[in-house]
Amino acid sequence: MSAILRPFSAALIAVLMACAAVPASSQQSDAMSDDRILGFASYLEGLGEYRRAATELERLLARGLSNTDSLTLRIGSLYIRADAHGLAERAAREQLTQPGLSLRPQLQYLLSHALYRQQRFDEASEQLSVLIAEVRSSDTSTVNYKAPLLAALCKAEQRRWDDARADLSLAEIAARSGEQKAAVAGLKVVIDESAALPQKSPFIAGLLSGILPGAGKVYTGHTLDGVLSFLTIAGFGYAAYDGFASDGSSSVRGWIFGSLAGGLYLGNIYGSALSASIVRDEATRQLQLRLRTGFAIAGAP
C-alpha cells in the first residue's frame, strides 16, 4: 500500500481523515461541555421548562464539579419552580450529606422551602428553627432574613399566629435595607388580617343544625339559607304534628310531612357541615394566597 500512495495522496488522506473525525467527536464533546450544558439549562429556564433545566444541571452535578453547592441550590430552585418539590427536597438532602459545604445554610433553607411547599409545616419549622439559631450571628447571608420569614409562613399556615409574629420580629431584626423592613411591616398586617379570616368547624355547624335546624347555616354565614331551612323544617314538622293531632298515628298527612321534615332535618345537618367545610377551605385558600403573595413581595421564600 505504501508503495502505491505518493506523498501528496498520503497528506490529503490524512487531512481528510482528520476532517472526518473532528466534526463528530469535537462537536459532540462540545455539546456536552459544562458550559454548553449550563447554557442549555439557562435556555430551558428562559422557556419556562424548569424541570428539564434542572435535569440538565443534574448531569453536571453527576460529574462531581467543585461548585456543587451552588449548582444544587439552582437545581432545587428550578425543581421548586416546576412544582417538583419532592425532587428539590431530595437534591438538598443529598447535598447536605456531603462534607465541607460552603453554602450549608442556603441548602438548609432550600430543604425547608421544599418541605414547606409539600405542606410538611412541622418538619419545615423544625429545620428552620435550627437554621435560625445557626445563622443569627451571620451578617453576610440573606438566609438570616429569609429563614424567619419562611418560619413565620409555616406557622401562619398552621394558624399559630403568635409564633408567626415572633418569627416576623426576628426577620425585622435581620432586615438590612429599608425595603426589607417595610416588607416585614407589611407582612405583619397580612398576618393580622389573615388571623381575622373566618374559620368554621363542620362539626360545630352540624351540631348547631342538629339542635336548631338552620342554625349551622347561619353560623357559616348563610343567614337567609338558614332561616329558610328553619321555616321549611318547622313548617313540615308542624304539618306532620297537625296531621297526627287530627287523625292519630294513622294520619297519611302526618307520615308524609313527618318523613319530609325528617329527611330535610338530616339533610340540613349534612348541608351545614358541608357549608362549613366549603367556607373553611375557601378561607384556607385565601389565607395561603395572602401569605404567599406577601412573602413573595418580601423576597422570601
Binding site: 502505491i4 500512495l5 495522496s9 490529503l12 488522506i13 481528510l16 481523515m17 476532517c19 472526518a20 473525525a21 466534526p23 463528530a24 462537536q27 459532540q28 455539546a31 454548553r36 447554557g39 442549555f40 435556555y43 430551558l44 422557556l47 419556562g48 421548562e49 428539564r52 435535569t55 440538565e56 332561616v227 329558610l228 321555616l231 321549611t232 318547622a234 313548617g235 313540615f236 308542624y238 304539618a239 297537625d242 298527612r253 308524609i256 310531612f257 319530609l260
Partner: protein
Amino acid sequence: MIRFVLVVPLLLACLSQAAWSQSAYVDIADRYVREGNLDAAITEYYRHAYLHPDDESLSSVYTKLGIACRDAGLLQPALRAFSTAIEKSRSPIDRARVRIELALTHLVFDQPLQSQLVMMRLLASPPGDSLLMMRAHAIAGVACLLSHQWNEAPGYLRQWAGGRPEAVAQTEQLIAIISDTSSIPHRSPTAAIIMSAIIPGLGQIYCGEYLDGLNSMALNGAMIFNMYSQIEQSRWVALGLVGLPLVSRYYMGNLEHAERYANEFNERARRSFAAEIVRRFAEMNR
C-alpha cells in the same frame, strides 16, 4: 485512479459525519418519539434548537417539537414551538404545514374557534400546494362543526371535496345532514319553565332529569298542600311566615333548574351531532 477511489469515500465520510453531528439530537429525539418516550424526545429537540440556532431545518425541528408536546398533552409549549416554527420557516409551504399542525393542536385541545382562525389565516394566503389546501379546508370544516357553525361548515367541506366526483357526492350527503339541524334533539327552555311553573318538576322530566324532577315534584307538592291546608284553616300568619319564603326558595328554584337543564340538554345534543358528523367525515377521509 487509486487516489480518486480513496479520496471520494473519505470526502463522503467527512460530509456525512458533519451532517450526522448536525442532526444527531433530532435523530435521537425521533427515535424517542417512536418509542413513545415523548418527554425525552422534547428535551432532545430543544437541545438541537439550542445547539444549532442557525440550522436551516430549524422550522421542521420546532414543528416536531410542537407535535411531541401536543402528544404529551402540553398545550402552551406546543403553541410556543409552532409559533417559533412559523417564524423560522423559509417558504410559504413550510409555513402552511406548521399552521396545519397548529390548527390540529387547537382541535385536540378543544379550541375549535382558534383552529378555525389559524386555517382562515392560511387560506387567506394560499401556499400553492393543493394537498395542503385540501387539508386546510378539511380542518376548517371540522372546526366549524365543532363550534356549531352549521352554515359555515358546508363551504369548507365543498372546497375540500374540490372536483373529486366521489368526494363531492359523499360531501353533499354530509352537508344534507348538516343542513337538517331540525334532526338535532332540542328542548325549549321556555317550554321547560312553563311546564315546571304548572307542575313543579315536569320541566326537569321533559329534559330527561327524572330524579331532580321527581324530587322537585314531591317537595313542591307537599309544600303547596301544606299551604292549602293553612288557607283552609285560615292560618294567615303561618301561611305568610312559612309559605311565601318557601315559594321563593323551592318553586323559583324549580323554574331555574328547568331552564338550566334545557340549556344543558341542547348543548349536549349539539356536541353529539357535531361529533357524529366529524366521525362520518373522518370515515370519508380513510
